[in-house]
């Protein structure tokens, strides 16, 4: 029993989109689907202007809005706090997409190739990726980041954590007060995004500066 969580250090992140792309490769997500998205913002006025990237994962909230609104029971929360979607139960109403404050839910309406202008059959990689995707998710159902549980079970780090060039991402157990992420959150003032929605995210951010 753990409560898996992330710490993303905004001070370290410089906005290279590695997490976003590596996630695609690790999870074979199709066109338009990005579980580890990055968004940017600017604040202040010239010349005292600041700019920052906000890299995201699913927040695996302790009180998930998506779980609350899911009418079918497809959305579940496992014993480690990971919010999952059972694709056999999901009916694809997209209500979770509306309710999630973090944009963590995504649905493939219909699997599309990245090469719509090319002739002939899918290339070997796309064919492989599509097969992998269809085996696990397929079209029409809600999909989301699960902190790479398949990798974690093999003792690996989530793909985005392993690849992050500036080591801005740390994965661990929030329930363990001595875990690296718990220490980082305590020591460096970790905060959750938009706590006003009452979801209690398991992903914490460290301040920009």
């Amino acid at each position: 029993m753990a409560r898996y969580g992330f710490v993303i250090d905004l001070k370290r992140c410089y906005g290279c989109y590695t997490c976003q792309v590596v996630c695609k490769a690790a999870n074979h997500t199709p066109k338009g689907i990005d579980w580890a998205r990055c968004v940017q913002a600017e604040t202040g006025s010239f010349p005292s202007t600041l700019r920052q990237m906000l890299p995201m994962v699913c927040m695996q909230c302790a009180e998930p809005a998506c779980l609350e609104v899911c009418p079918t029971g497809a959305t579940q929360q496992d014993e480690n706090g990971i919010v999952t979607v059972d694709q056999d139960l999901c009916m694809g109403c997209k209500y979770c997409m509306m309710a999630c404050p973090y944009g963590s839910r995504q649905v493939v309406d219909a699997w599309e190739t990245y090469f719509p202008d090319a002739e002939g059959a899918l290339d070997p990689y796309e064919a492989y990726a599509r097969k992998k995707w269809d085996e696990k998710y397929g079209s029409g159902v809600a999909t989301k980041c699960d902190y790479c549980m398949d990798r974690v079970k093999q003792g690996l780090q989530p793909a985005c954590v392993e690849a992050c060039p500036s080591k801005a991402r740390t994965f661990g157990d929030l329930d363990d007060p001595e875990s690296e992420i718990s220490i980082l959150i305590r020591r460096e003032g970790g905060f959750q995004l938009n706590p006003e929605f009452g979801t209690d995210p398991s992903c914490y951010y460290l301040p920009v500066r």
Partner: protein, 867 residues
């Protein structure tokens, strides 16, 4: 634990080719299909990670838009938007045609090799070996003058024996960035630098970024200093003035022993030389008389004061520099740069304070100066008329505080720096000195070393580059509508005939597409090209296109030496890393190196080709070649045979290709003498560039002898650093009220990555990359709303269109565009019409060229209006 039915599941160590950082990667192959790319934890080049651009290269291998078969052009009409009407042909037909074209040349010198800057390690052998064995000298990396570094590479070669400089983040506490993004995804040891700069930031390292817009690096910095493009030297010299004349602090010991600061300069601006030995003189303040710079008896080098030696009044060069920079009063500098004088003064103070002059640190038992301040620069600074001097002026900040190639300071990075300490048993590349005591690099990437300067001689090349003393790449001759006139005036007795292109897309990377195509490329009667995609270049002018292998389908004996940008600073490891195919080449794709070898054989020049290859190996990798592994001119080798011999020769008989294919690399620990070499190698570098003057004078006379004295502004050839304005700074037409510049997003590499679907997906959603950035207040004053389509037009009436992004993080009179987007080739539909093609606005002519390095000025005065 492989899933059921899987017959093969392997991880192949190789090297990424997504940019020039050459990180070590592992390719995951399942049942013959490449399914993932990850970092290779065994290598220091990337240290087990991979970036988004790297992972996205999965699609490069299988991209359905790739070229899979040789094709020939059936539409004889060439031009920027021409449809070549490709027709598939056999390899034999393609090579037969090429060979017959070569054999029917009027003059072999009329060949021209054009190559990409991205595949740096692939061009080490085949191109020069072929050029030398076939007999021509024309060579160009197409993005070189505009996207790569004329000033930066050249000037860092002179002062750091390196291709570029980056801060030593292990110890650095304060970095001034000028137009560069090192540590923020730039391909300069991209992954390690990213981590180290993040570590440094976390422990309190401060960065001050001089940039016209709130770039990625500025966004992470302690302070962003908005500055007008192309004015970096003025800012640097203003700060130097504060340091030398207000603060009055500098690293005496460093300047005395490691630079030509004490060299005495006469009224003729030249060294005062010893009558007997011809060596430059210095003033021994202890003895009260002049001595040659290398006299062991010198008690104390004078840096200031006026003296008389050899009967002339003279001063140490440092005293001249100190006096010279008084010209750059902060009031004047503020006017040029728009940076408030108070900011410049404060930053100069902070820079000196953080340099901790006099402090030291112990590393691996060696006590070394600790100078945790650095001033670094790259393309932003050097893409101007003042290319060379911008770079040197900024680097002078490092030199006066002694923060050069010592812990915490600005480190030479890229080839050849200094490695191969005798204790390591590896081929050595250690800088040495000229007779004046100044540093010469041991090996270098292109033909001529940065110093001593090339002797001005009548040109033999079609671009006249070999006539200029410090030109790295130049485009103003070949892109001119009067190219023919240049050739006539400079008595070039042959004309362009055949162009060989390797992977480059020069139509999009040299300047205005029409100019490149009409004035330059179409002058070649026959153009053949190795490419993985049909791009703007092939569609405009190629007659035959050969399907090249991507970096995931070919062998390269070494990608990390000479290290372009793969070895990080700090104590880690050197790594020798190979590239190997992760799958056999698909379809009829063939490796460029293999095909060039075959062409040499078909042309009957393979003996020379082998001989030239033998000569190139030591130049590239340092050290002499053992006769055992040298290629026998009578032999018959494949590209893999050559790779195998290179490896065995460099690494040992048990480290041939088969062995390296298993590990992908060979690594050994960095020695402190190699990484922080400055105080271990007895060389000096110039802070006073005496040699420019003489060289410029010779070049001027030479040009005058051809009746073209005014081809360049010879006043650039001077001994002391100066800021010269770009044409954009001198524009007086009030309608043209903005200066446009381009920038590079870290997730794209020049013009080569825009067709990658994953990178395109990022770019579409990025708030900057596919848009034109303009200051919000400026935009609103012009009645623009965020997202409005605007035209950006230069003085020649050329214009580009795109949606505007109004931001606060932009200098009010500047305009930013991410470079090399806006493709139009039929062969790359994903990238088509995405973003803007900035280079179309760039003006390439004598006036827009750095007279010193011949780099192209990449800033353009523009007006904008609603589309």
């Amino acid at each position: 634990m492989s899933p059921q039915g899987v017959k093969e599941d392997v991880w192949i160590p190789t090297s990424c080719g997504g940019c020039y950082a050459q990180c070590g990667i592992l390719a995951h192959r399942v049942d013959g299909v490449l399914v993932d790319l990850t970092g290779n934890p065994e290598t220091p080049a990337g240290s087990g990670r991979i970036c988004g651009k790297g992972v996205a290269q999965l699609h490069t291998l299988y991209d359905r838009h790739r070229i899979n078969y040789p094709v020939k052009r059936t539409n004889p009409e060439k031009g920027v938007h021409a449809d070549p009407k490709w027709q598939r042909i056999s390899w034999d037909e393609a090579l037969d045609t090429i060979v017959s074209k070569f054999k029917n040349m009027k003059d072999r010198r009329g060949c021209y090799f054009q190559a990409t800057t991205v595949q740096t390690s692939e061009i080490r052998f085949a191109i020069p070996a072929f050029m030398r064995s076939f007999g021509f000298k024309n060579y160009w990396v197409s993005g070189g003058g505009l996207w790569c570094g004329n000033g930066a590479h050249f000037m860092n070669g002179i002062t750091h024996a390196a291709w570029s400089i980056i801060p030593d983040w292990t110890y650095n506490n304060y970095t001034l960035y000028f137009g560069c993004s090192k540590g923020h995804g730039a391909g300069h040891a991209a992954l390690q630098s990213s981590q180290w700069v993040a570590d440094a930031r976390a422990r309190g390292m401060k960065a001050v970024v001089f940039d016209p817009f709130l770039s990625t690096q500025a966004s992470k910095a302690h302070e962003w200093v908005p500055i007008r493009v192309g004015t970096d030297a003025a800012a640097a010299l203003g700060m130097l003035n504060v340091i030398l004349n207000e603060i009055g602090q500098w690293d005496e010991e460093y300047l005395k022993l490691k630079t030509n600061a004490p060299y005495l300069i006469g009224p003729d601006e030249h060294y005062v030389r010893d009558r007997d030995t011809g060596k430059p003189l210095v003033w021994d303040a202890g003895a009260g008389r002049p001595k040659t710079f290398d006299d062991a008896s010198i008690q104390d080098y004078a840096l200031l004061g006026e003296f008389e030696a050899q009967g002339v009044k003279c001063q140490p060069s440092f005293a001249l520099l100190r006096e010279h920079v008084k010209k750059y009063s902060l009031e004047r500098v503020e006017e040029i740069t728009s940076v408030p004088a108070s900011t410049l003064r404060r930053v100069a103070h902070e820079f000196v304070e953080h340099a901790q002059i006099g402090s030291s640190v112990k590393i691996d038992g060696q006590t070394l100066p600790l100078r945790p301040s650095a001033a670094i620069f790259f393309r932003g600074s050097q893409g101007h008329v003042n290319s060379g001097w911008n770079c040197l002026a900024i680097d002078l900040l490092n030199q006066v505080v002694g923060a050069a190639d010592v812990p915490g300071g600005a480190m030479g990075h890229g080839p050849p720096v200094c490695h191969g300490h005798p204790d390591t048993g590896k081929p050595e590349t250690i800088p040495y000195t000229c007779k004046d005591g100044l540093m010469i690099v041991k090996g270098w990437v292109y033909d001529h070393k940065p110093y001593p300067l090339r002797e001005p001689k009548p040109p033999t090349r079609l671009d006249l580059q070999d006539m200029f003393p410090c030109s790295v790449y130049n485009a103003f001759t070949i892109m001119s509508p009067d190219w023919e006139k240049y050739l006539e005036d400079f008595k070039i007795d042959y004309r362009p005939e055949i162009m060989i292109n390797f992977g480059s897309n020069s139509v999009m990377t040299m300047g205005n597409a029409e100019d490149v195509t009409e004035n330059f490329l179409k002058k070649f009667g026959f153009v053949f090209s190795f490419n993985i995609y049909q791009n703007e270049f092939t569609e405009a002018v190629a007659d035959i296109v050969l399907p090249d292998c991507s970096f995931l389908e070919r062998y390269t004996p070494c990608v990390t030496f000479p290290s372009t940008f793969c070895h990080p600073t700090g104590m880690d490891h050197w790594v020798w890393q190979i590239r190997q195919p992760v799958v056999d080449p698909l379809f009829e794709r063939r490796d460029f190196n293999e095909v060039m070898l075959e062409l040499a054989k078909r042309l009957g020049i393979q003996e020379k080709y082998y001989a030239e290859t033998n000569k190139l190996i030591p130049v590239r990798y340092g050290g002499e070649m053992s006769p055992e592994y040298a290629l026998d001119p009578k032999g018959d080798y494949s590209w893999q045979d050559i790779c195998d011999r290179v490896l065995k020769d460099r690494l040992g008989p048990d480290k041939g290709l088969e062995a390296l294919k298993q590990t992908g690399l060979e690594k050994w620990p960095t020695k402190v003498e190699e990484m922080y070499w400055r105080w271990f190698v007895s060389v000096r570098i110039p802070i006073y560039f005496e040699f420019f003057k003489e060289s410029g004078e010779k070049a001027r006379k030479l040009c005058a002898s051809f009746g073209r004295e005014n081809i360049q502004d010879w006043s650039f050839y001077r001994p002391l650093a100066e800021w010269f304005p770009c044409p954009s700074h001198e524009e007086t037409d009030p309608d043209f009220d903005l200066t446009a510049f381009s920038w590079r997003p870290s997730f794209h590499t020049q013009s080569s990555t825009q067709n990658n679907p994953w990178l395109d997906e990022i770019s579409v959603n990025d708030p900057y990359v596919y848009l034109i950035q303009l200051n919000e207040d400026t935009g609103k004053a012009k009645g623009l709303k965020d997202g409005d389509d605007i035209w950006v037009e230069n003085k020649l009436g050329r214009r580009i269109k795109g949606p505007v992004r109004l931001v606060q993080g932009m200098h009010p009179d500047q305009l930013g565009i991410a470079g090399c987007h806006g493709h139009w080739a039929r062969g790359t539909p994903i990238s088509r019409d995405k973003g803007q093609f900035f280079d179309d606005l760039v003006i390439v002519d004598e006036k827009h060229t750095d007279s010193l390095t011949q780099g192209t000025d990449a800033c353009v005065r523009v007006k904008i209006y609603k589309a």
